[in-house]
């Protein structure tokens, strides 16, 4: 029997550990018969698990299967209730179809809005074949006629080097023209270029002025960026109250970074009294949008019962989401969760694996924990050489107290190692140091 492809194994392992994306991937493979034999029952099983975790792709795939006549019951319906399908649903958010011929006619007749819309169509390949040169041409016509939207759009092409050679000077010039006419997106982009010194000298003060203009028009990105300047006092007078207000406005528009920064202010009591309950709410909202720092902080609040009821299972879920994205602190915490069985079944092997991933990324705490596990043969084969290497790395980078423990441990191990083993250990340590981030 042929071995299972690595892609399937990888998704299966993660899916079995509860990862909704992996569950969807695996379910979809069974649905399509891709890399595995087609199996609708298994497809429904995995897709259902993903759907129950809110994976929208899985919901869509199940809906398609149901439309094909496959029996699908993924929604966990509480007893005593019946869900009535809306037979005449609202279809908000659907973009009206583009009629390129109509747009082209209006654009040729000199309608600037149509010129920009046609440029957008060419830029995104919607209704017409993607053609950046054509996009540039139409934007240019509108921009040169003084249309702010056209000037902004042309600025983005120069800014990103799309259909034209990248030019900070050109981008700034066009953004400036549009910004002067009150275009919020242009004001934000211009502010960003000035802040970063692209096409000129960095000047946070001038950047803040443009951000303020865009923020007043409700531009969430500008509200967020201006808030960061006000919070840090960079280029403007430090004003935490104003920063909080702007973060709140951007957060209300769904900006995950603003929600995260606001949560930090609320948790730490910056600019006012601390409110861990509200902080946890904002961490959750940012985490749900996939902001890894928020996932970690929300997990930590859940684990400690800070601002929210203690929930180790949920904490483990959020540690995993952040760990999967490579967050070292989350990986260490997840290792701890598995080691102690906090909200999950204790799994020393999984703990060792997460410590290893974090240790490779340079976490001194993970190096120490992994060293101890390797020394005692817990969760992985006992290996004094490997244990010495990890403890030595921990001794070099950990905080003083932990470093002392690591040194003590590595000294004990060193006494147990033969000269050959010691040489091998030193060689591995060197290699580790070289690859360490």
């Amino acid at each position: 029997m042929a071995p299972e492809p690595a892609m399937v194994t990888r998704n299966r392992t993660a899916a079995e550990q509860g990862d909704p994306v992996a569950q969807f991937n695996l379910g979809n493979m069974y649905r399509l018969g891709y890399q595995v034999a087609r199996d609708t029952d298994l497809a429904v099983t995995w897709l259902t698990m993903a759907a129950r975790q809110g994976n929208a792709d899985a919901v869509e795939a199940l809906r398609r299967m149901a439309a094909d006549g496959i029996k699908v019951h993924w929604d966990a319906e509480p007893e005593g209730t019946e869900i009535e399908a809306e037979s005449d649903p609202l279809c908000a958010g659907e973009e009206p179809p583009i009629d390129p011929a109509l747009l082209a006619a209006a654009a040729k007749a000199g309608d600037h809005a149509a010129q920009v819309a046609l440029g957008n169509a060419y830029r995104e390949g919607k209704g017409v074949a993607l053609d950046l040169t054509e996009a540039l041409r139409w934007y240019q016509l509108a921009a040169e006629a003084g249309d702010a939207a056209g000037q902004y759009a042309l600025g983005t092409l120069y800014d990103l080097g799309l259909g034209v050679a990248q030019s900070n000077a050109e981008a700034r010039a066009w953004y400036h023209k549009a910004a002067a006419q009150g275009d919020a997106a242009a004001q934000f982009n211009l502010g960003n270029m000035i802040l970063l010194g692209r096409g000129g000298t960095p000047n946070p003060g001038v950047a803040a002025k443009w951000f303020r203009l865009a923020a007043e028009q409700g531009d969430a990105a500008a509200q967020f960026t201006l808030a960061t300047l006000l919070e840090s006092g960079k280029g403007v007078e430090r004003d935490e109250a104003k920063a909080e207000e702007l973060y709140r406005r951007a957060a209300a528009q769904g900006t995950a970074e603003a929600q995260f920064n606001l949560a930090n202010m609320l948790r730490l009591g910056i600019g006012g009294e601390a409110d861990p309950t509200e902080a946890a709410g904002f961490y959750r909202r940012a985490a749900e949008q996939g902001l890894v720092e928020a996932e970690l902080n929300f997990a930590l609040m859940l684990a400690g019962g800070i601002g929210i009821g203690q929930d180790e299972t949920a904490a483990a879920h959020w540690f995993r989401r952040a760990a999967d994205k490579g967050d070292v602190r989350a990986q260490v915490n997840l290792g701890h969760v598995y080691e102690q069985g906090l909200g999950v079944e204790p799994d020393i092997a999984a703990a060792a694996e997460w410590y290893r991933r974090a240790a490779v990324s340079g976490s001194a705490e993970a190096c120490f924990n992994l060293g101890i596990l390797a020394a005692t043969g817990t969760g992985l084969a006992a290996d004094d050489v490997e244990a010495w290497v990890w403890l030595s790395l921990a001794a070099e980078a950990a905080p003083p107290k932990l470093a002392d423990s690591a040194r003590s441990g590595s000294a004990t191990l060193a006494a147990r190692l033969s000269p050959e083993q010691m040489a091998e250990a030193r060689s591995r340590l060197e290699k580790r140091r070289r690859v360490a981030p």
Binding site: T81, L90, C91, G93
Partner: protein
């Protein structure tokens, strides 16, 4: 040219059989006639057959022309899937909101196709007959509704079907009797109402017959709404003592129109996703909406009618739409799946305020169903409620949610659990900081929110009297603690301020409604009484104001406020 022995039959396809429609001696005329038939009628195919009579008397038939209406899509006017139909017992109930809402949803495609409201249908004999003649649509509708009603009541399905059929005939007969002798023309609303004969309910019915005739002349939803808005403006400018108030009639027809998803979408204008659209509908139903891009120019006038409370039925229809959409599996953020929770959070915060829950138990239930389906990850209902509560954040909102949820179908199905959760929540909330956020809310609003939570707890029917008192007392104790910890009364009653100012501020505070009838109000009142009891209070009060005339005025104001605030 053809001879006498040749003729051309124009045939149309009816129920899988070719039927001769006409016979012509001219081939091109026959073909033209066939093409015309195909375009102007509902026939799916036409053909022309040449019939040639041979010398031996036998006939030879040849198809010389055949066309199928492939491009013509027969409109699907089938019934919509509904899973409940409120039971009706008398003919009057056929005209009521619930029945019209059910008809509006069940016959959506049909009504959208001919653009008539349920009211127009029920008050116009021709339209009723047209529906009756529409294939098996009426029969299927009666069948469907009777089955749903029989299932809900346990009544025999056939009995229910017979009742509905007879009621239908009665509705039709009533409409036939009411057909006016001549069309009313484009009269004003007052003109139409003056034309209607009869008194009381009969006059109302006759009015609706005339109004329906007028509206039937306009076959566009917005056209009808514009007429209704003009009538509403006319009504607002006429005397309030009209024999028949017109606003409920206008509300009834508007409520028919806003059943349609397409109408709502066109009304709302551009909405980035379903979540935003639902929040916007809540805003409109509350009369707090602002016109979005592409909204009709009269949106603000429409919104004002909701704000003035003139459209309660329409509000109910809109909110029932929000409930059903919330309950459905349609994503709130279809274009950006990562924002699904964000949109849910926005909707949750929009409908669950610190004062009330828009849509009541049905909405609480809908939010729960959505959470379970999208975010619960296979957890238990209890975990889902916990998670919704965590999303709501502060205890004031949580109390509003749990009280409504406890009365919802899902809450009832969970037995005592929602109430137990509520009791545990309130018993554990001993500081105002967990009831209302610490920042971003003014102190006065924090106290008002806590007082509102106390009121809702004390009036909650889902709680036993003992529990109401216990939980209400906790909110009161939290308020009293807040007053003490923050020195709120001391801040209002500053010793360095003139006595008149202190006394008036204090008594205003007592009557502001932000305090709870109990410990907290007693604390503030006792401070007022302390002032009143001091020797020569009135003299000191007057002496604290520089201008004696102003002093007298303030004293009178103080006494008036005292009475208003419940001091005797």
């Amino acid at each position: 040219m053809s001879g006498k022995s040749t003729s051309f039959e124009v045939q149309v396809l009816k129920d899988k059989n070719w039927v001769v429609e006409t016979i012509s001696t001219d081939e091109s005329q026959a073909k033209e006639f066939a093409d015309n038939l195909l375009q102007t009628t509902n026939h799916t195919a036409v053909r022309v057959v040449r019939d040639f009579q041979r010398i031996d008397g036998l006939h030879t038939e040849t198809v010389v022309h055949e066309k199928t209406a492939t491009e013509k899509n027969e409109k699907d006017l089938s019934l919509a899937a509904i899973s409940e139909a409120p039971t009706c017992v008398g003919i009057d109930e056929f005209y009521a909101l619930n029945a019209r809402l059910t008809i509006g949803r069940l016959l959506r495609k049909y009504l959208d196709d001919i653009v008539i409201t349920q009211t127009e249908l029920l008050h116009n004999a021709s339209e009723l007959k047209r529906l009756g003649d529409k294939d098996r649509l009426l029969f299927s509708a009666v069948d469907k509704v009777s089955a749903l009603q029989a299932r809900a009541t346990g009544e025999d399905g056939k009995v229910r079907r017979d009742f509905l059929q007879k009621s239908w005939e009665a509705v039709l007969a009533r409409a036939r009797q009411a057909v006016p002798k001549k069309a009313p023309g484009k009269l004003t609303l007052a003109g139409l109402m003056a034309l209607a004969p009869g008194e009381g309910d009969e006059k109302r019915f006759q009015c609706l017959v005339l109004i329906s005739l007028r509206l039937l002349e306009t076959r566009s939803w917005f056209g009808k709404l514009e007429i209704l808005l003009a009538w509403a403006a006319e009504e607002a400018s006429t005397a309030a003592d009209a024999p028949l108030p017109a606003m409920p009639i206008i509300d009834g027809i508007v409520s028919d129109i806003v059943v349609s998803a397409q109408v709502i979408q066109d009304l709302l204008g551009f909405q980035p996703n379903l979540g935003a659209a639902l929040s916007h509908i809540c805003d409109l139903a509350a009369g707090q909406a602002e016109a979005a891009k592409f909204a009709p120019p009269w949106f603000a006038d429409f919104n004002k009618l909701f704000a003035a409370g003139h459209l309660p039925d329409s509000q109910e229809v809109l909110l029932s739409r929000v409930c059903r959409e919330t309950k459905s599996t349609n994503p709130l953020s279809r274009n950006e799946p990562a924002k699904e929770f964000e949109e849910f959070n926005a909707l949750l915060v929009r409908v669950v305020s610190r004062d009330s829950l828009v849509g009541g138990p049905a909405m609480a239930d809908a939010l729960f169903q959505r959470y379970v389906r999208f975010f619960n990850g296979g957890g238990t209902p209890g975990q889902a409620i916990e998670a919704i509560l965590a999303t709501l954040g502060d205890v004031c909102r949580k109390v509003q949610y749990l009280l409504e949820f406890a009365a919802s179908p899902a809450g009832v199905a969970l037995g005592k659990k929602p109430i137990d959760m509520l009791a545990a929540l309130v018993r554990g909330a001993r500081h105002i900081d967990v009831w209302v956020p610490v920042r971003g809310v003014l102190p006065r609003d924090r106290m008002a929110a806590l007082a509102s939570a106390n009121r809702v707890l004390l009036s909650a029917r889902v709680l036993t009297p003992e529990l109401r008192t216990e939980l209400g007392d906790i909110a009161d104790a939290v308020m009293a603690r807040y007053l003490e910890d923050e020195g709120v009364i001391e801040k209002i009653d500053k010793p360095e301020d003139p006595l008149a100012l202190r006394a008036i501020r204090l008594v205003k505070f007592c009557g502001s409604g932000v305090l709870i009838e109990g410990k907290s109000l007693s604390m503030a009142r006792s401070r007022v009484i302390g002032h009143l009891k001091q020797a020569q209070f009135e003299e000191k009060f007057l002496a604290s104001v520089a201008d004696p005339v102003q002093g007298e005025k303030h004293l009178r104001e103080f006494h008036r406020l005292l009475v208003e605030s419940g001091f005797r």
